[in-house]
């Protein structure tokens, strides 16, 4: 096995009294793609800034290729990783100069034009049209792609992406995703990606971490069903989805609790079953099917009149049931399957 690229030991980042990041042990293998998920403020972006050597941990050890990061090697280490911010900042200059900035900082003098144009093409922007544009003459999606191009141009061993596809148009999302993956294809970069796009993360990431309150944990594909939950009969509680379907659960901690339903706890059927003890049967239309990286399972995204739920099943089951996007199916799950937030 390769020696880890990053190793984090008992690492903490604090802002005053608040613990923003608390990682007991984490290793990231070279050339891998690590996906990070979790609610806002759970420590994902803080971890990216630490991995980019932009933020020093309050305590603990961060090693890169076996060398602990310190004040003395910080500038050298910063050359190894680059971070695309969640809301990227474009320098107040032309698109060409934005992309060339990092190259010039690294002493590149020759072949700048070819490199800049190549990176613009990687992110799906026509160099002849965009190279001389001002930073003010770009849409949100184009600006995000230029920012990614400027990171790709410097070909660092590590590419850190903070919500690279948030808030941009569909066309830009596809281009940003494929351009980010080019970093691994072209020069074997290690990617750490924060995203709420679980389908994409599940598809491309070699491993996933779910963050909660600054701590990373095993990632599971979960569906979130927010209350209000109302007390029903027989000790069961119910909530009504926007589509009008009623979901039944065992007693939640509170009426406003959020029910977490593991994708693996959902059974899929192509016809409405009868005579089962399962309380919940939701009619869905299949929207997407993605292969989960690593497990080989199929993640099935279904919509119940606009409410999306994700189920996990084996490839064999998906083939047997003849599931394809657009087909109607039933998502079945027990009232006791919920965990609570």
């Amino acid at each position: 096995m390769n020696a880890p690229l990053y190793r984090l030991e008992n690492l903490q980042v604090r802002y005053g009294d608040r613990l923003a990041l608390d990682v007991d042990h984490l290793e990231i293998a070279p050339g891998s793609i690590l996906g990070l998920e979790g609610p806002n403020g759970s420590g994902k972006s803080t971890l990216l800034r630490v991995l980019a050597f932009l933020e020093a941990p309050s305590r603990g050890v961060l090693s890169f290729r076996g060398v602990p990061a310190s004040e003395s090697n910080l500038l050298e280490l910063r050359q190894q990783a680059t971070l695309l911010l969640q809301d990227p900042y474009l320098l107040r200059r032309s698109v060409f100069e934005n992309i060339a900035c990092g190259l010039r900082a690294r002493g590149a003098r020759h072949g700048l034009k070819e490199k800049v144009f190549h990176c613009l093409e990687l992110v799906g922007l026509d160099p002849r049209d965009f190279a001389q544009r001002s930073w003010t003459a770009l849409s949100g999606g184009e600006a995000r792609r230029v920012a990614l191009a400027s990171r790709l141009a410097i070909r660092t061993p590590v590419l850190l992406l903070d919500e690279p596809t948030a808030g941009v148009d569909k066309g830009s999302v596809t281009l940003l995703k494929s351009a980010a993956l080019k970093a691994r294809e072209e020069w074997g970069a290690t990617l750490v990606v924060v995203s709420h796009d679980m389908a994409w993360l599940n598809q491309v990431a070699d491993s996933l971490l779910a963050f909660q309150d600054g701590r990373p944990g095993r990632s599971v594909v979960q569906n979130r069903l927010a209350g209000p939950w109302l007390e029903g009969t027989g000790g069961l509680w119910t909530m009504t989805l926007d589509c009008g379907q009623v979901v039944t659960s065992t007693r939640p901690p509170g009426s406003g609790s959020v029910g977490l339903l593991d994708a693996g706890d959902i059974t899929v059927a192509v016809e409405k079953p009868h005579g089962l003890s399962i309380r919940n049967a939701l009619p869905v239309t299949i929207l997407e099917m993605n292969l989960e990286n690593g497990s080989g399972a199929v993640l099935l995204k279904g919509s119940c009149a606009g409410v999306s739920l994700t189920a996990r099943l084996t490839q064999a089951s998906a083939t047997e049931l003849g599931l394809v996007p657009g087909r109607n199916a039933w998502f079945l799950f027990k009232a006791s399957a919920f965990q609570w937030e």
Binding site: R49, A52, L54, L75, R78, Q79, A81, T82, L83, L85, D87, P88, Y89, L91, R92, R93, C101, G102, A105, R106, S134, T136, S150, R151, I154, T156
Partner: protein, 233 residues
């Protein structure tokens, strides 16, 4: 009657300027050389200090900011007085023979301009988008180029600081009068000449020099506005 008097002053002023009156143009020449010296010095000192104050945290930073902000309103005659004490024959720098010279006047004007350059540069950086520094860092900008990178990002604010400081030094009278002595052909600036000529009742020359002063301000502010518009387009 009053309008005739003003109009006559204007027509004589234009004749002085167009005719290349040596005394008038000497004051313009001295002013340009003097302000170039004083602005050069205040920018060389003020930009690094402003960057330091705008980007670094250190103990006593708030106090320093307060002192710098207070110095924005330094009275010119007080600066003139203090510098006079230092560069006069009895002063510690008396041997350098700076009194009644352009260099001596430039020291006084640089002291006037310095707080403006420092305060406005620091404010520009202090109020700048925090992602700017992070972006330059994550693109691998070495520390030596970081300052240039930051300055380039806030270039219009820095330019505005320089123009504001120039406005202060080109229009001041106290420092030029006290440290330069208003010596004809040598240390007589536009403002000291206007003061003198108006006192003598020579309004036309005063108006001519006033027009040059206004033209200078207009040119500088026009250039700043042009660059800003171009940057925003």
């Amino acid at each position: 009657m009053f309008m005739d008097f003003i109009l006559e002053g204007f027509s004589q002023a234009l004749a002085l300027l167009a005719g290349g009156d040596p005394e008038t143009w000497s004051a313009v020449d001295v002013t340009i050389r003097l302000t170039a010296l004083s602005m050069g010095a205040s920018l060389m000192l003020g930009l690094p200090l402003g960057i330091l104050l705008g980007t670094r945290d250190f103990p006593g930073k708030r106090l320093v900011r307060t002192v710098v902000d207070t110095c924005l309103a330094l009275p010119t005659v007080v600066v003139g007085l203090v510098v006079y004490a230092f560069i006069s024959r009895q002063g510690p720098l008396g041997s350098l023979d700076l009194l009644f010279s352009l260099k001596g006047m430039a020291i006084g004007q640089a002291i006037l301009a310095l707080p403006i350059v420092v305060a406005l540069t620091a404010s520009a950086l202090d109020g700048a988008d925090p992602r700017m520094l992070m972006t330059l860092q994550t693109l691998g900008t070495p520390p030596g180029r970081m300052v240039l990178g930051l300055l380039r990002e806030v270039r219009y604010a820095v330019l505005a600081a320089a123009v504001t400081a120039y406005g202060r030094v080109v229009a001041e009278v106290g420092v030029s009068m006290m440290l330069g002595g208003n010596i004809k052909w040598h240390t007589r600036t536009i403002t000291t000449a206007i003061t003198l000529e108006t006192g003598k009742g020579e309004f036309s020359m005063g108006i001519a020099l006033g027009l040059v002063l206004l033209a200078l301000s207009f040119l500088l502010n026009g250039a700043l506005s042009f660059f800003r518009r171009r940057a925003a387009s």
